[in-house]
């Protein structure tokens, strides 16, 4: 007996290393929360997808929508879609996934505390049909409903209600709920440990409903703020994967026998926004008026930026200069829209002089320093370029955790923002960025408070238009209007490099997230 126990113990002790396959990765910042409907953050959404699943999701290779927790869907009427739910799916606590949970989760995402309004926009109500069927009613016909649903993940109704997490955590009051630190999803991995800003451990879910392609048993995430430290860790073999290597380190990684770089154009456009609401800009030397309200001034700022040199030097080729507010993969994009107003310092100076700012002006300029590829360096370079037309931009840079709340409080005069389009449809960008500030997702990141009735009308019409051809034209028209008004100054589409050990096998997704279902480590 004793021997048997000893043997058993030995076997237990010896067993895990034999097939333990940890995947250790790092990027600059931690996810803001584990509450899946609280904060719409790209990194967070990507990580949440390991633990929580949505009804439908993008296939990593084709980027077509594929069934996940829903098995089939069909329109009952133009404003009603019926979803059959997968049976036999269990949450990590062992309880089954049912229509009640799906209805609850979608309603939770529509709660006023939720930051996911842009994905729930147009949804009127969600109704349970039977234990494995739900209906989603939209206010108007909604051609991008499925795309929106890819980012709305499912959690357990009973678990949330029991643990005081029936409503999403309100990020404005920072009051913590249970779901902020604890999880109960249906996904291929389970949250084992999370010390914010330090370490996160996910363990493989042995009872996952699908056949797993991944062979990883444990995912260990360590946020490391300094790019140099992250790189040192990868070079010395401490970690397997870096989501956001510095462009300057790529040559070195490529030269290393054990490492490789995967890259691709991310579906994310970087641009500058400008305060077009205030009558006087705080921190500017121009009193009594706001120069940024003048289209000529905005155009001058635009034309003073030598984006090609920035893309070549500062981004080391990891940027595709663009004049459009969306990337080429996005519906509504055209070659004509992509064309930039040319880089022309003389023209910019002339525009400024016409607008009455011959000697330029001082203006506040805010940038994140750990969100986009070389964001701070780009802003410094632009500051120098604007100096050449006499605009003295007073640059301040902040980490994303304070930067985004700050710009959302409308505190920046000129700010940098990057917008990815998970729905692959320009409405997503237009609604958030250029529609006047309204309710729900309308203008929720239009922090320059640009407002043009013509634009609002176009956006509203697109929301309801079901004729796909006509709808695409409307999107293109709206994008053209943005270019003409220069509501924002587009810069480039990010090209995202991932750095990793050669033994890591995964697919580079255009939304810059890892597909945990396909993750392999040799």
């Amino acid at each position: 007996m004793k021997i048997r126990i000893a043997l058993l113990c030995a076997a237990l002790l010896a067993a895990p290393p034999a097939f333990a396959k940890p995947f250790k990765w790092s990027s600059a910042s931690d996810i803001p929360t584990w509450d899946i409907h609280s904060q719409n953050n790209a990194l967070g959404n990507g990580v949440h997808a390991a633990v929580y699943e949505s009804l439908v999701y993008y296939n990593s290779n084709s980027f077509k929508i594929e069934a996940v927790l829903a098995t089939a869907w069909k329109p009952i009427s133009p404003t009603q879609m019926r979803f059959s739910l997968r049976t036999g799916v269990k949450f990590h606590d062992g309880s089954p996934f049912t229509a009640d949970d799906a209805v609850f989760s979608l309603q939770r995402a529509m709660h006023k505390n939720s930051n996911y309004a842009v994905y729930t926009q147009g949804i009127d109500r969600v109704v349970k049909v039977d234990a494995n069927t739900i209906d989603v009613f939209t206010k108007d016909p909604n051609p991008v409903l499925l795309n929106q649903l890819t980012e709305l993940r499912m959690m357990s109704k009973a678990w949330s209600e029991k643990n005081n997490s029936a409503a999403p955590m309100d990020i404005k009051t920072k009051e913590e709920n249970f779901a902020h630190r604890n999880t109960n999803g249906t996904g291929p991995f389970m949250l084992k440990e999370w010390q914010p800003d330090q370490k996160m451990v996910l363990a493989a879910n042995p009872n996952w409903w699908a056949k797993k392609d991944a062979n990883v048993t444990e995912i260990i995430y360590t946020p490391v703020k300094s790019a140099a430290t992250r790189m040192a860790a990868l070079l010395s073999g401490e970690i397997d994967f870096v989501l956001d290597p510095s462009p300057q380190d790529l040559d070195r990684i490529r030269a290393n026998r054990d490492l490789k770089v995967l890259d691709g154009v991310e579906n994310r456009t970087i641009f500058f926004g400008m305060d077009q609401f205030r009558d006087e800009l705080p921190g500017s030397n121009i009193k009594g008026k706001n120069p940024l309200k003048d289209q000529r001034v905005r155009k001058a700022l635009y034309q003073a930026i030598d984006i090609n040199t920035i893309a070549r030097v500062t981004l080391r080729g990891l940027g595709q200069p663009t004049g459009a507010l969306v990337a080429p993969q996005v519906t509504g994009w055209t070659e004509a829209i992509h064309k930039r107003h040319p880089y022309d310092v003389a023209a910019a100076q002339k525009l400024l002089a016409e607008a009455g700012y011959k000697d330029g002006f001082e203006v506040d300029f805010a940038c994140p320093n750990n969100r986009y590829i070389n964001d701070e360096q780009i802003c410094q370079a632009v500051t120098a370029m604007w100096a050449k037309i006499g605009v003295k931009a007073k640059l301040r840079t902040q980490p994303l955790a304070t930067y985004f709340p700050m710009i959302q409080r409308y505190e920046a005069s000129i700010y940098m923002l990057g917008w990815g389009v998970p729905t692959f449809d320009a409405l997503y960008s237009l609604q958030s960025l250029v529609r006047s500030v309204g309710v729900g997702g309308d203008g929720n990141y239009n922090v320059g408070r640009y407002s043009n009735p013509q634009m609002d009308a176009l956006v509203e019409r697109t929301k309801k238009e079901t004729d796909l051809k006509l709808r695409t034209d409307l999107l293109t028209k709206a994008l053209a209007l943005q270019n003409e008004d220069i509501a924002h100054i587009p810069l480039h589409n990010q090209v995202i490099p991932w750095a990793m050990k050669k033994k890591v096998d995964l697919v580079h997704r255009a939304d810059n997230r890892i597909d945990w279902r396909l993750l392999k480590v040799q």
């Binding site: 921190g283 040199t309 500062t314 120098a384």
Partner: protein, 303 residues
């Protein structure tokens, strides 16, 4: 001027200076760095703060002796196309200015309070010395960080000038204590000497006694402390800037330059961080060596 220098070189201290190769070399290095920093606009080949002259196309050129290097940029350029040599010279200027300003302020505050405490005694003395105890029980860097952090929180949207004010203030607030203590100690000794007593009896005012009789006698140790303090202050400044709460990137001190360059260390562009680092160590080391020498020279017992 030259006569005074000659006179000084003939004195005891001058002799000790001439006969110490370390002191000579250190003084030379400190002098060169100091002059370069003082006359930065004339010495530096470029003006790194003039954004108009920056060309992004020149970014990250290696030092001139490399094949890809350019003669225009002797020590290479940083990620914005800024000349490293000029940036280092201007950076040293900022570092030295902040360091010296904090030291001078510390000396003024510390000596004044030390004199007051030592000469007047009583509750002023007790209070000031307790304050010193409290200050000394915290490491300077922590207090400086705290002040810098608070300053940053209070004026979150403020720009450069204020940043430097906060920076100098935070180094000063931690630096004055050592002067106050030393001066107080010497003052206590001087106060009871006969000539001071005599002066007092003849009705000379306290202020005058302190200035004319006590102050000159305590200046020696203060000078030694101040010399070493310059090195400490420069390092503290660099550390704060490295931690991101010091000089802003738009007017970078040596510490800021090192912080920025740190990101390029692993990609082979070592010159962006190493040259400012070398400059910082050169200044700190030469000043420290001078301080060491001065302490020994002023204190014959140790020789």
């Amino acid at each position: 001027m030259i006569a005074a220098l000659r006179h000084w070189l003939d004195s005891d201290i001058g002799y000790s200076f001439r006969s110490s190769p370390t002191a000579l070399v250190a003084a030379l290095i400190a002098l060169v760095c100091g002059i370069a920093a003082l006359f930065a606009p004339w010495v530096a080949p470029h003006n790194p703060f003039d954004l108009v002259t920056l060309e992004l196309a020149n970014a990250r050129l290696p030092p001139a002796w490399y094949a890809e290097g350019s003669k225009t940029f002797l020590l290479g350029t940083d990620d914005q196309g800024r000349d490293i040599l000029s940036a280092v010279i201007y950076g040293a200027r900022i570092s030295l200015a902040v360091g010296l300003a904090s030291v001078v302020l510390s000396v003024v505050v510390g000596v004044t309070l030390g004199l007051l405490a030592g000469y007047l005694g009583g509750w002023i003395d007790a209070f000031l010395m307790r304050l010193c105890d409290v200050m000394l029980s915290f490491p300077a860097i922590l207090v400086a960080l705290l002040i810098a952090g608070v300053g940053r929180a209070m004026f979150s949207n403020a720009h450069e000038t204020l940043a430097f004010g906060v920076l100098i203030l935070s180094i000063t607030l931690t630096g004055w204590v050592q002067y106050a203590r030393t001066v107080r100690g010497s003052t206590l000794v001087e106060r009871n000497k006969e000539y001071v007593q005599a002066a007092r009896v003849t009705g000379v005012s306290s202020l005058r006694i302190m200035r004319r009789h006590v102050l000159p006698n305590v200046l020696g140790p203060v000078l030694v402390l101040a010399t070493i303090h310059v090195a400490t202050a420069i390092i503290t400044e660099a550390t704060l800037s490295f931690l991101g709460v010091g000089a802003p990137p738009t007017s970078p001190s040596l510490g800021t330059l090192i912080r920025i360059g740190n990101d390029y260390l692993f990609s082979g562009e070592w010159w962006i961080t190493i040259f400012p680092g070398v400059m910082l160590v050169l200044i700190a080391l030469s000043v420290n060596l001078l301080g060491d020498w001065l302490r020994d020279a002023l204190n014959p017992r140790l020789r």
